[in-house]
Amino acid sequence: MTLESDPDLPVVGEGGHIPSTLGAQPLLEMRSVSMRFGQTGVLRDISLGIAAGSSVAIIGESGCGKSVFLKLLIGLLTPSSGSVHFGGTSLAEMRASDLMRLRMRFGYLFQSGALFDSLSVFENIAFGLRQKNKGKEREIDEIVRERLTEVGLPLTALHRMPSELSGGQRKRVGLARALAMNPEIMLYDEPTTGLDPIMSDIINELILRVGESHPGMTSLVITHEMKTVFRVADRVIMLQPLALVPPGEAQVLFDGTVGALRLSPDPRVQEFIRGDASRRIQSASERDALIHTPLDMPPGGLHP
């Protein structure tokens, strides 16, 4: 069962899919985007585009701004400078109602699942459909069951509350909720963080399966885990924490295919892939940099 896309918004092709080519324009684009929270800079002068139908992994150390990157793309945050574009249209120029409708074309799997804890699993998955009157209650019921099955959860979970679910189950329900709206672009914010290796593998498999069963879907996955990157991505963007960026160098440390990532000559990329911090630990000057993140964080963490 498919849900129709909004006809008033730009760049919808036939059959509800975004066309793979949009002239010369990427589907999602950041133009010279910088982001600061108070005195703390997180992103600086990021310019890149995401093609429709691609599967992109965004990697980098904790605190390098990966989640902020994703929230900027969907308009949950507004850049301090620069602009974010969807199909060539700047998000800043959109009316609030258009931005709201645009967001419905995205699916977002949050780090913690972000399930509404006062609603049952069924109500969580049905929430977006009910809010937008997408179909009658019987159709909604059918979609909810389909999506729950798609993410590998038994139908007996439908009436359980989020507090009764494990971390992996919460993420799967979060994924089912995102998929229920039949998104054209899926954003995964650290989908395997905090899960055991088996559950991580199951989630990776799910991401792959979602990509296969929704042809044309654009995916962006934020992750620390290289296993996830190698399994689900065809392009990798590696960010480095702003405090570690040498003068005159871009914050995007790597942008290319998974194959190119493996062969990258940059030692920082290789260290990240291998999870090897020995060079930093040995280097006194870089030892300070090792602990930069907590010290640079404003009290209470990052917030607009």
């Binding site: 005195q39 949950l76 609030a96 699916g107 949050f110 972000a114 977006g128 809010q131």
Partner: protein, 270 residues
């Protein structure tokens, strides 16, 4: 940290202005979404949570305020030999002032803090972001219904507090000070008009709006994990309490200016 050329006091003042502007914009956002808020499915659970669950504590507080007021008033009135006027004293004080203020303060503590903590938790756990991702405006879905619930239920709770205050005063006056029930109710009724009730309920309406506004604002702008949730609940109560006191002063002043024009009509031309 002070910016260059700006003293810490100026910085604090600018921050305060910035915060006040933020609250004003938040209030405008709520006003734009009031229509959606009242139709929200969450209104009934909220009315239950804010109204029904707060009723016990409101009834209890109202009764004791009436009783304490009767004790204090009796000491003054007995000196002039007019203890029979206790009903007038208790009723006017409760209806005009103590009922609305105490109901609002109790709800600010019980409900204002809870609303702020709930919204703050939703903000921290990205539930608010999740709403936005599904094309749902969190102001319309979360804030406006809570604002409505506060706006409607503080006056409703005030009616209950007033009722119990009158009963508490009656109990003390008749059982402890042996005032004739007839005299108590006669003076209570003869000297309390629709204008007194209107004054009290109008105040309660404004107090409800202030609780809804500040509690929701503190919750939606919370940051900093579990500590931030606690901070938002505390600061919501403090902000609501201050707003109630300030509003009470200015509304009291306004009503006192209006009373000479309206009271003769309200009191049947006396």
């Amino acid at each position: 940290m002070a910016q260059s050329g700006v003293s810490p006091y100026e910085n604090r003042f600018l921050a305060w202005i910035n915060h006040a502007g933020d609250v004003v914009f938040f209030a405008l956002e709520i006003s734009r979404n009031l229509g959606k808020g009242i139709r929200s499915r969450s209104m009934v659970p909220l009315i239950f949570q804010i109204g029904v669950r707060s009723l016990g504590v409101i009834l209890f507080t109202g009764a004791f305020i009436g009783m304490v007021l009767a004790i204090q008033a009796q000491m003054q009135l007995a000196a002039y030999g007019i203890s029979t006027r206790l009903g007038q004293m208790v009723n006017l004080s409760v209806v005009r002032e103590l009922g609305p203020v105490l109901a609002a303060v109790m709800l600010a503590g019980r409900v204002g803090g809870a609303i702020a903590a709930e919204l703050a938790t939703m903000r921290m756990s990205e539930q608010v972001d999740a709403l936005e991702c599904m094309g749902v405006d969190p102001i319309a879905h979360l804030v406006a219904p809570r604002f409505w619930a506060c706006l409607l239920l503080v006056p409703t709770m005030t009616v209950f507090a007033n009722f119990m205050g009158m009963l508490g005063g009656w109990f003390v006056a008749t059982e402890l000070y042996f005032v004739e029930p007839y005299h108590y109710w006669y003076h209570a009724r003869a000297n309390t008009t629709w204008w007194d009730h209107l004054m009290g309920l109008s105040k309660a309406f404004f107090f409800g709006g202030a609780i809804g506004l500040f509690a929701c604002h503190r919750g939606m702008t919370a940051f900093g994990g579990a500590q931030g949730v606690g901070r938002s609940a505390t600061s919501a109560f403090v902000a609501c309490f201050i707003a109630i006191m300030v509003l009470d002063f200015f509304l009291g002043l306004m009503f006192s200016r209006l009373t000479p024009f309206i009271a003769p009509v309200a009191r049947g031309g006396l």
